[in-house]
Structure formats: structure tokens, C-alpha cells
Symmetry: C2
């Protein structure tokens, strides 16, 4: 039973025609977890019993010819800040180490209805901020998988599940996806419900997910929104892509920028029209604005716990909350107003373009587990709430994945996925970590 | 030419059948202003020239059989915080004493398209907060007309125009309307655009207006929203009305509460089903929450001017801004979250009811011009953003008007107007100040 390399589309098709059952698909993935999770540590909780029961029920249903859709029988990992009924949800924090929700988050509930099999809960940094989780990068165990959705990215990258959910407030989906060589997507703010997802900073928090191809991303998003987005066809017309330099070039490692420009060349060779695009005027302050909003809202979320259990907060989140408690409301409100202006500017920037493109992170996955990496290339799009996706683009000489980040206008997911599919084919970088084949 | 007592509906009909012209209607109102505004001081600026030109053009149009709708030729007063192209807009403050906008606010622009004749700008408290305007109450010049839309309320009450626009952040439409014995309406938050209206606290600011009957309110709202709401028929079925006591009874003057309960009795006699309704659980903190949000947002709006021109701020607004600058963002955000809970609770409270009823203010118009009165009965509905309307209900022994405030669910203006019309008929209190007949 070696089904762990099947994409969602392939597994779904195999289940549909009775070639495999949901139970067999699950067992194949459970075996991967059994075999490799001591190394990788992607999972906080593996719910073997619950997952097996669900898979058995779905096997029965499919044998009776009842299929719930493209996610029928697909194993899924859920970041441990999503409420899961009857299944411990720790938020990555000792404060919630024994917390068992009595209901599902909205996304988990939709996934269950769509026939997905919840395998368990994946590692998150403490409350989805930057204090690292124990997870390691499947490409090199000495390196971080990125964060905060560390377990979800590593689980998908190592074939422990073909789909996992995470969240992004700064760069917590796009960055770990890029570090782990998978496809990560953050749809438009609020397109997928945040209900039952523990907030870090609610006006910035996005539900997002990890898969191994753009095709799979479109299947998942279609299943969650009820819009048919599948099968996405490569756009006939090569895309018009806006290329940011400036801040991005300055902040990126040489290895990242060179790899990125090579990828851009490949896109051009494929026929893409790539036009260098000036950064919006207020771009220079978006990172301060993002940080100020994030710290203010995080402080509001945590202020009660923080008073009574400050010792249970780790260093970085403690700093964030403590600094957020000092922000005057007038500064917060001014930041929200600058945010509005930045959103308008990005709207104008995207005029006549199919997407913007940047490297997905300033570095490849960093050595060591102390830092989950830099969100500076992603947080502007968490601030705007515009949809973004990362597609694997290349490997460094050291054998670490790189990715390109594509950004489009709000609620233009279908168009964004079409361009991403085009880029995925032009780049031809379907990656699989050599140690976990 | 004594047309100042015509309602909008009557004037509109008279213009339609050619009985009077827009120019005649305007002159009649200009004459009232000429005659009485030295006493009442409702106007900052009367734009005789501009209004006469507009009225002449509309007269020509109507003579050619072209009528723009129910507001064709209707004189309107505009609170002096609404941008009016080419017409000085002072915000009631020395800081803007010479400011002439180069564009109209959205509402003014819609009004002009609908054929309304902008007579001029009405007095507002400084930046629509509580430092009093010079306006006096037409019912008794020793008394405040209420605020912050002081001029608009007094102008309509004294027959200087049949329609005037104001704004409400706490109780700045409902309270002055009640103090002046007219109908005041504050539709759902954001139903009428705040574009070009100087903000006091933008998440609480509502556009609202003053007229002399519920029928006129429905004409105006219909003209502004493009929904046909006219002519509103009395609802066949007597309404189910939720009556709040507790806080409202405790805070109200005896004369207000007694008058209010007599009005409630009249509604019952008319067949209304009045049911005492418990206050929502979080009602006890809504006033603090409202104040904290208002001060934070006002501080954000004013912080730059406040630094350079603190001497031009009057006492109450200075206190509001200074205290708002000290609010930590976590407190602001917590207030916004409590606000969300309160909104849900009021939704539940309104279940099965056609509206809630309270007195429109805790007192009749106060003696003296130092205070514009207490917004405590109105600010909870500015906080929820639910539509509210005040209808004159009685006169005190001292000859000052009282009103009842009706509240309904968001975007249920048509239903609210229907109930208000029913109550207006049952109460039978069409009021006109004896000194300005």
C-alpha cells in the first residue's frame, strides 16, 4: 500500500473507480506517519481511531456508490489552532494543553461534510506566532520547516497527508509551503471562515492550506466554497505578470534572488509577459503598519491569559503582547487607515495584470530550529487580504526548495489558480524530498 | 406666500400640479429665515443666490413638465459638517472657518440630483461633539435645541425648511429632533453614505435627517436610496412593541417618564401589543463602550490638528480627544468586541417584535444653552448601527415637546417607518411652536 504519492486528484479518481478505498488510502498515510514522524514531528495528535472509523464509513459509502465529491476519503491534517470536536486542540501552548473543544471549527465541519478524513492535529508555533514548533524540514532535518503552520507544511511535504490546513497572519502559509517545497494557498480574507480558529490578530488572520499541486488547490478550494473550480485548465493566453524588485531584491538572499530571476526567465521563455512594476507608494511603511495592527490585536486576544499566566508565554509572543498592550488606539486606528490606502494602491498596481510575482521568502529554509524565518514578503498581502499562492520553483545547490509567490485581486481565486497552474507547468518543479520518497 | 407649513408631500404635490413653483416655495422659506433667524440662529450660511438659481432652474424644468421626483424643488438645510461644493463648510470650528470644499458630499450630491434646493448650512456643535452651537430652541429661546445637529432641528421646527440633514454619533439626530418637536431619523449605519461628512468617530457616525412627519421621512429615504417607500400606508395590523424600563426609567426625568407612559397607554388603546422587554445582558456597559470607541476614533481624526491648534478646540471636544489619545488599542479592540456581542443580543431582543420603544431623551430640552442634553437613550443604537426614529408624542406642561424613539433591525427601515406612522397617528401629536406659527 504505497499511496502516499497520489495527488488529491489521483486519489479521488482511484476511489471513484473503486481502485482503492478511503481506508486503504488512510492506512498508507498512517504508515508514513508511523515511519517518519519521530524524525519530522509534524503531528501533535494523530487520531488513528477516529480517522479509521471515518474512513470505514466513507469506504462503505463509496462501495454503495455514494461519493461526496473530490475530497471523499482524502486524509487531511489540521493545524492545532482549529477547534476539532472531541479532539484535543492545544494552540501550541501549555495553557491549552488539555483543551478538548466541544465543536468543530467551520472549516473542519465543511471538510467532514465533504468526506475528508481528519487524520489529526499538526504542530503550530505557540498561538500561531513565531516561537518555533518542534517540527523539522523533510528536506533537511537540521532546517526549519518555517512557521507558524509548521506541521501542516512538513506533513504534506513528506507524504503524510495530501492536504493540510494552516493559517496566515504574516506569512504562516506561504513561507512554510515554500520552505517545504509544496503549494500553499491563502485565499482572500474571510473567503474561508475563521470561525473556531484561535485568533492571533483577527483582521489579518487567514485560513489557508497546503497541497502538492495547483490542480489540487483548485479542487480543495472548489470543495470548500461550493464553486466549481475544477479541473482548472492552463490559461490559453500566457499571463501578464507584474514583477516587484526594490525592497524584494534588497531583502532577498543572493541565492533566492538569483533563483527567482532564473524562474522569471523560464516564465518569459514560456511566453509570459513580465513587466517590472513599481512598488505602491505606501509600501515603505506596510511592515510597521502590519506589526502594529498584529501586536494590538494579539494583545487584545491575550490580555487576560497574559495577566494570569505570563510564565506560560514564550519569548516572542510575550514581546508581541507586551508591546501591543502599549499601543495607543489612535496609532492602531491610523494604521488601519494607512492599510486602507495601501489596499487601494495595490488595486491600482494590479490594473492590467494577471498577478504580481515575488520570491515566496527572502531565504530558503533557515538552518536550525530557532527561527521560523522572515515573513516580510508575505505580510503585505496578509495586510491587504488579497489572495496569494506559492508554487515550488527550483532547488538551491544545497537541496532546499524555493518558491514563487503570486498575488491577485480579492475574490479572484479562480484567475489566480489559472495563472499559478500556468507557472507551475512553465517552471516544471514538482519537488519531493529525497530522504522521504 | 405662506408655504412654510406645507409638508414635503404637500409641497411636492403642489409643484406637480403647478399650484406653486420651486422658486415660490424657496422664497417663502427664505422669508422665514429672514424674519426669525436672528432669534433662532439655525444657520451658519444662507446661500440665497445659489438657492435662487437652483430654484429658478427647477421651476423652468417643472414648467416644461420635467419633474425629478418627490424632492423636486424642496428646500433643504445641510449641517455644516457636510462638504458642499463652493459653499463654506466650517465644521463649527475656527480651524475650518474659511474652508470651501471643492466637491459635494455624497448625500448632498444625491439631493441635488433629486431636485432638492440647498438653502444653506445649518449650525453644528464644534465638529459635531457637545460644545454647544449658538442655536436656540424655537419652542423656548431660553432652551437648547439639543445637539449636535442643532441648526437642522431648529430650522425644520420653525418652518425655515421642511427637510434638513444632520448626523448622529451618540444622539445627535434623535435628541434634537425630540427637543424641537419634529421627526428625526437615523437609518442603518452606512445605508446613507458618510462620504464627504467630517467624521467624529467613523464607526459610530450616521447620516440622518429631520422632517415634520413620518410620511415625509419615507419620501426622503425613498428618494435617497432609490427604493420606493412612498406613500407608506399605516400598517393594517397594530404593532408589537418591546418596552424597555430599567435603565430608561431610572435615568429619565419624572416628567419624561410619565409622559412616555401616557404615550404608551395611547398606543395600547390604539391596539398596539406592548410587551415589557428585559434589557440585553451587556446593556450595563454599552455607554462606556460607546464612549471609549468614540474617544479613540475622535482622537485618531483630530490628533494632527490637535497638536498644532489645541487652543482652537473647545473644552468638551478637547477632553474627548485628550482622553482618546490615552486609550490603549487593546481597550479599543475589546470595546469593539463587546459591541459585537451587544449587537447580537439586540438582534435576539427584537425577535418577534416590530420595534423597541423608549423615550427619545431623558429630559425635555434643557434650560440654557450650555448643555445640548444627554444622549444616553440614543447612543446604544448608534453603537449597534440599527435604524431609529423619533416621533413627537406630547408637550410638557411647560410647553416643551417630548418624543418616543423607535428602534428596529438593520435595513428594516420600511418596517420601522410603517410602525412609526402607526404610532404617529395613534399619538396624534403634530406639533408646531406657538411663537413661530
Amino acid at each position: 500500500m504505497k499511496y502516499h504519492r497520489l495527488s488529491i486528484a489521483e486519489a479521488s479518481q482511484a476511489i471513484r473507480i473503486g481502485e482503492i478505498t478511503p481506508s486503504e488510502l488512510l492506512e498508507s498515510h498512517l504508515m508514513r506517519i508511523e515511519e517518519y514522524d519521530d524524525d519530522i514531528r509534524a503531528w501533535v495528535t494523530v487520531d488513528k481511531k477516529g480517522a479509521r472509523e471515518t474512513a470505514a464509513r466513507l469506504t462503505q459509502e463509496s462501495e454503495q456508490g455514494h461519493l461526496r465529491g473530490p475530497l471523499h476519503g482524502i486524509p487531511v491534517g489540521i493545524k492545532d489552532i482549529y477547534y476539532t470536536e472531541g479532539l484535543r486542540t492545544t494552540m501550541g501552548s501549555p495553557i491549552y494543553s488539555e483543551f478538548v473543544p466541544d465543536r468543530d471549527s467551520a472549516v473542519v465541519s465543511t471538510l467532514r461534510e465533504a468526506g475528508a478524513v481528519v487524520v489529526g492535529k499538526t504542530e503550530t508555533t505557540d498561538f500561531a506566532y513565531t516561537d518555533p514548533a518542534p517540527t523539522r524540514n523533510p528536506w533537511n532535518l537540521q532546517h526549519t520547516p518555517g512557521g507558524s503552520s509548521s506541521g501542516s507544511a512538513a506533513a504534506v511535504a513528506s507524504g503524510m497527508c495530501p492536504l493540510a490546513f494552516g493559517s496566515q497572519t504574516g506569512g504562516s502559509v506561504i513561507r512554510p509551503a515554500a520552505f517545504c517545497g509544496v503549494v500553499g494557498m491563502k485565499p482572500t480574507y474571510d473567503l474561508l471562515s475563521r470561525d473556531g480558529v484561535y485568533p492571533l490578530a483577527w483582521s489579518l488572520d487567514h485560513v489557508g492550506f497546503f497541497v502538492r499541486s495547483v490542480r489540487d488547490a483548485s479542487l480543495v478550494l472548489g470543495a470548500l466554497t461550493g464553486n466549481v473550480m475544477s479541473p482548472i485548465k492552463t490559461s490559453a493566453r500566457p499571463p501578464r505578470v507584474g514583477l516587484f524588485k526594490g525592497f524584494f531584491q534588497d531583502r532577498a538572499d543572493d541565492v533566492v534572488w538569483e533563483g527567482f530571476m532564473e524562474s522569471v526567465e523560464k516564465l518569459k521563455e514560456g511566453g509570459a509577459f513580465v513587466v517590472e512594476t513599481p512598488l505602491p507608494e505606501s509600501f515603505s511603511i506596510v511592515h510597521s503598519v502590519h506589526k502594529l495592527i498584529m501586536s494590538s490585536e494579539a494583545a487584545s486576544v491575550h490580555q487576560d491569559n497574559f495577566r494570569s499566566r505570563q510564565g506560560d508565554y514564550r519569548r516572542k509572543l510575550r514581546g508581541l503582547v507586551a508591546s501591543g498592550l502599549l499601543v495607543p488606539s489612535s496609532a492602531y486606528l491610523r494604521s488601519q487607515r494607512i492599510r486602507g490606502r495601501f489596499i487601494e494602491e495595490v488595486h491600482r498596481t494590479l490594473k492590467g495584470l494577471d498577478c504580481l510575482i515575488t520570491p515566496s521568502a527572502p531565504t530558503p529554509a533557515l538552518h536550525g530550529l530557532e527561527s521560523t524565518g522572515d515573513a516580510a514578503f508575505n505580510s503585505p498581502w496578509s495586510l491587504t487580504g488579497f489572495p496569494s499562492i506559492t508554487v515550488p520553483s527550483a532547488l538551491t545547490e544545497g537541496g532546499l526548495p524555493l518558491g514563487v509567490q503570486l498575488i491577485n485581486l480579492p475574490c479572484q481565486e479562480e484567475a489566480l489558480l489559472r495563472v499559478a497552474r500556468w507557472c507551475e507547468e512553465a517552471l516544471g518543479a514538482e519537488l519531493w524530498p529525497p530522504k522521504y520518497p
